[in-house]
């Protein structure tokens, strides 16, 4: 069987590409602006290579879908801390892409245990964050798993974050002090345990290790944790109880959001921000704005961190499918950024609808694999359609790369269907249509706050209905 390799997108791509270049792999398409995820190697033409989001790679290796992969130690530990018996071997430290994971807070907490109120920790690394909280014997804590922008949460929306940074000093830029340096990481070559025990991976390993000969690991810089001063300018003041907290999206949702606000006569400074400012100023009194990931908004509105948020119905549905008792609801359809949430299979598959899918599943031995960024929507879809014994594989983007080898069905969003067609896939079902929407919390708020919220919704509704 062909050897399968998983390579990272994102932060490690450039350096990994350079390293493999040096190793003489001769990859045809492994560059930062690629749209395909299947590079080929001249040196190892039989090796099957796929490109994934870095966070997906340890999972793919542990599941045995891939024999070897490259990703940073932080994502490996995020998996192993929760699932220590995973079939994953750390083969070699590649000594690039280094950084560290820090627990950081807006101010140095006196006692991490803080008996009584829960300590809120926001992180892209929820498993490591939980391990930290348990190790520090925090009596009560809430972990907010986030897709990104964790550094924007303290102090109002989280007491601590677990974030990656090149050095602790970087955190000062976000108005935070490092409390604990949890893990130093760099890129690693990893392998599936079974593959390592049974397959001939030596040529690949040698080619990579040869490039390392002259690299020497930089000594870990000792730094003082917790002593840094936070500049008063960066430290946000306490917000008044009746201030309305509005979350606006980062990424490609920014432009439609600005347009909407402008048409409603609402001015906003430094959004989208060129400097990465996540606290733009809005010209309505009593409203505070933060810029976070749209994926994270429903949860943040549910737990009362924000009163209003501009997100997509896809992410609201994802949240409500996981937590049906959540107090979040859609206040206004913004009718922007229309996408369809669809069920997708390989074009090679003789299946045209969910009925066909059920027949296919009934006829096979292995369990059925559904890959999606929308884990809970995918889970509910599989449940509602009686897809037998299925597994949901969580992904962090680039989901098209999973078909046909590493998943059988995708739950994906699509605007035009072109990307899906380009990857030789086909749509067999449309789950729902998603547009931008304004969401809020059904739990009661103070009268003054309620009035402010109502006023904002009214102004935006006028614009949407005018269209």
């Amino acid at each position: 069987m062909a050897i399968k390799i998983a390579l990272p997108k994102g932060r490690l791509l450039r350096k990994t590409a350079a390293m493999l270049q040096k190793a003489g792999w001769g990859l045809d398409e492994y560059t930062s602006n690629m749209g395909f995820y299947r590079p080929k190697s001249q040196k190892f033409p039989d090796v099957l290579i796929r490109v994934f989001h870095e966070k997906d790679i340890p999972i793919q290796i542990a599941m045995g879908n891939y024999d070897m992969g490259i990703c940073c130690l932080d994502w490996i530990e995020e998996l192993l801390v929760k699932y220590p018996s995973s079939d994953l071997v750390k083969v070699q430290d590649l000594m690039y892409g280094g950084g560290a994971l820090y627990i950081a807070a807006a101010s140095l907490p006196e006692d991490l245990r803080q008996n009584g109120t829960p300590v809120r920790i926001a992180s892209e690394y929820p498993n490591l964050a939980e391990a930290f909280a348990l190790r520090k014997r925090m009596s009560r804590f809430s972990i907010f798993p986030v897709w990104g922008a964790a550094e924007a949460y303290p102090p109002e929306n989280a007491d601590m974050v677990l974030v990656s940074a090149k050095a602790g000093a970087e955190l000062a830029g976000y108005g935070m002090v490092p409390v604990n340096r949890m893990l130093d990481f760099s890129a690693f070559l990893i392998a599936n345990k079974n593959s390592w025990e049974t397959k001939n991976l030596d040529k690949l390993v040698t080619s990579i290790c040869d490039t390392l000969a002259e690299v020497e690991k930089k000594a870990v810089v000792e730094e003082e944790i917790g002593a840094a001063e936070i500049s008063a300018r960066k430290r946000a003041g306490k917000t008044a109880g009746d201030t309305v907290r509005l979350a606006l999206p980062d990424g490609h949702q920014q432009q439609p959001t600005v347009n909407l606000l402008n048409r409603a006569g609402i001015g906003i400074d430094d959004y989208p921000s060129e400097t990465g400012n996540r606290r733009p100023r809005i010209n309505i009194d009593g409203i505070m704005v933060k810029v976070i990931r749209p994926q994270d908004m429903p949860l943040q509105v549910a737990n009362g961190n924000f009163d209003l948020a501009v997100t997509g119905r896809d992410w609201l549905t994802e949240h409500l499918d996981q937590f049906p008792s959540s107090p979040v609801k859609e206040l206004l359809d913004l009718k922007s950024s229309k996408v369809r949430i669809v069920a997708v299979v390989s074009r090679e598959l003789q299946v045209e609808d969910t009925g066909g899918l059920r027949q296919l599943i009934a006829a096979r031995e292995e369990s059925f694999r559904v890959a999606s960024e929308y884990v809970n929507i995918a889970d509910k879809y599989a449940r509602d359609n009686h897809l037998g014994q299925y597994r949901v594989i969580p992904t962090w983007g680039a989901t098209e790369a999973f078909l046909p080898e590493d998943a059988d069905l995708l739950i994906e969003n699509t605007e035009t269907g072109r990307t899906i067609a380009r990857h030789n896939l086909k749509i067999i079902d449309t789950l729902f249509e998603s547009t931008g929407c304004l969401i809020g919390n059904t739990d009661s708020v103070s009268a003054a706050k309620g009035k402010r919220i109502e006023a904002v919704v009214k102004r935006l509704r006028a614009v949407v209905e005018d269209n």
Partner: protein, 413 residues
């Protein structure tokens, strides 16, 4: 596709359930006899109930089944109960406060075990004595647990004693940082009985004095008195714990209970503050308990002393010879309707047989049965035919009462 049970989980077969009920029943009978009342707590609890310092060691917390439930949008996790005592202490704090509570319960607890070879769902028969904090209370629990094991017919039970307060005081004495103390204490409680010897080597001055204390196994209050004479002079801090320990041991001695004092093997829970006792049969631990005075206060339940123990039901089931407890099991009778029209009669006859104390099974399409007797029922006379399943001898009867009379006559010989 092969259907199978979840990895690490256990089914209990009819034969195992017989042993299960036997052990549980003896626990219930004896606990009731001592004035204990049964309680039951939910399978799911909040994680924070178990994370407060001094409840479970980080080693154990790393093995709990924690997850976000349907209400998990607040970020708060829930767990499958990893321990029985803490939920019962919560129940006491929530709804029984102020009373002296003698409580017992049979419960399953869930602890992840990597290989999945040992079962991840474990059964416990436990008691908690909340609101009393004397040596008498501790001895009551020890005596109660020993009585259960005796009633189960188990021989060679060994009682090992240690003391959490004493261990903690020794760790302080060994000059460890608070963080290290709590780490070491955790390791000792997780069953690593070499820790104390290890750290005392690093502090030779204190270590030498402690050596006999940590390595010897005392079998009488004399052992503690000797140690006290040796240690109390330069280790005032531990005197209080030694005195407490002595009171309990003296009482056990008076009651003629045999024990072994082994300070270094203090396996148990982080919530223990005083005496720790473990029950062994051969090399196998079958239960244990201890004093936990800080648990109820940590839940805001006021200054309430408490202690309790758990017997490992899974292990006892394997050790107990269920056959030796077989009570006079009622005889089994299979009732077979000879025709469709006789089904109603067959059900009626079965009812009467049950009322008379027999186990009556309805014949289902001639499926094999291990019943001692078979009764065939038909619409026409003679309505009943009684067949001895062993000798195949047949007797006819026209009423159920007649059948019963025959059965009694036959059963009498």
């Amino acid at each position: 596709m092969k259907i199978q049970r979840c990895k690490g989980m256990r089914d209990l077969s009819p034969a195992e359930m017989t042993a299960f009920h036997l052990v549980e029943g003896i626990c219930r009978d004896i606990c009731s006899g001592w004035g204990y009342k049964e309680v039951r707590t939910p399978t799911i609890e909040y994680l924070h109930l178990f994370t407060s310092a001094g409840t479970l060691t980080p080693g154990m917390l790393g093995k709990v089944y924690s997850f976000l439930d349907w209400d998990g949008w607040s970020g708060e996790r829930v767990v499958l109960r990893p321990d029985g005592t803490i939920p019962v202490a919560r129940l006491y704090t929530e709804s029984l406060q102020g009373e002296l509570a003698r409580l017992f319960y049979t419960t399953n607890i869930f602890i992840f075990e990597e290989a999945g070879e040992k079962t991840r769902e474990r059964w416990r028969c436990s008691t908690e004595l909340i609101g009393a904090g004397s040596a008498t209370a501790e001895v009551e629990l020890i005596a109660l647990s020993l009585e259960v094991l005796k009633k189960l017919g188990l021989k060679g039970v060994e009682l090992r004693l240690s003391h959490a307060g004493l261990i903690k005081a020794l760790l302080v004495k060994l000059g460890l940082s608070p963080e290290e103390q709590s780490r070491m204490f955790g390791r000792i409680l997780d069953g690593d009985n070499k820790v104390l010897a290890e750290v005392s080597r690093e502090s030779p001055e204190v270590g030498n004095t402690l050596k006999p204390f940590l390595s010897l196994k005392g079998q009488s209050p004399g052992f503690l008195r000797n140690q006290k004479a040796l240690l109390a002079r330069n280790m005032l801090e531990i005197r209080q714990y030694l005195d407490e320990f002595l009171k309990t041991v003296d009482l056990l001695d008076e009651l003629g209970v045999k024990y072994q004092i082994n300070i270094a093997s203090g396996a148990g829970f982080e919530y223990y503050t005083g005496i720790i006792f473990q029950l062994f049969i051969g090399k196998e631990k079958v239960g244990g308990g201890g004093r936990y005075d800080a648990l109820i206060p940590s839940m805001g339940g006021g200054d309430v002393p408490a202690s309790g123990f758990a017997l490992y039901l899974d292990r006892l089931m394997d050790l107990v010879k269920a056959e030796s407890f077989v009570k006079a099991v009622p005889e089994r009778v299979l009732v077979r309707a000879k025709s469709g029209g006789a089904v109603k009669e067959a059900f009626k006859a079965a009812d009467k047989l049950r009322e008379a104390g027999y186990v009556a099974e309805i014949d289902l399409d001639g499926k094999k049965s291990d019943a001692r007797w078979i009764i065939e029922v038909q619409s026409e006379a003679p309505k009943f035919t009684l067949i001895d399943a062993e000798t195949k001898k047949k007797t006819e009867a026209s009423t159920v009462n007649e059948v019963l009379k025959r059965l009694e006559g036959e059963g009498g010989d």
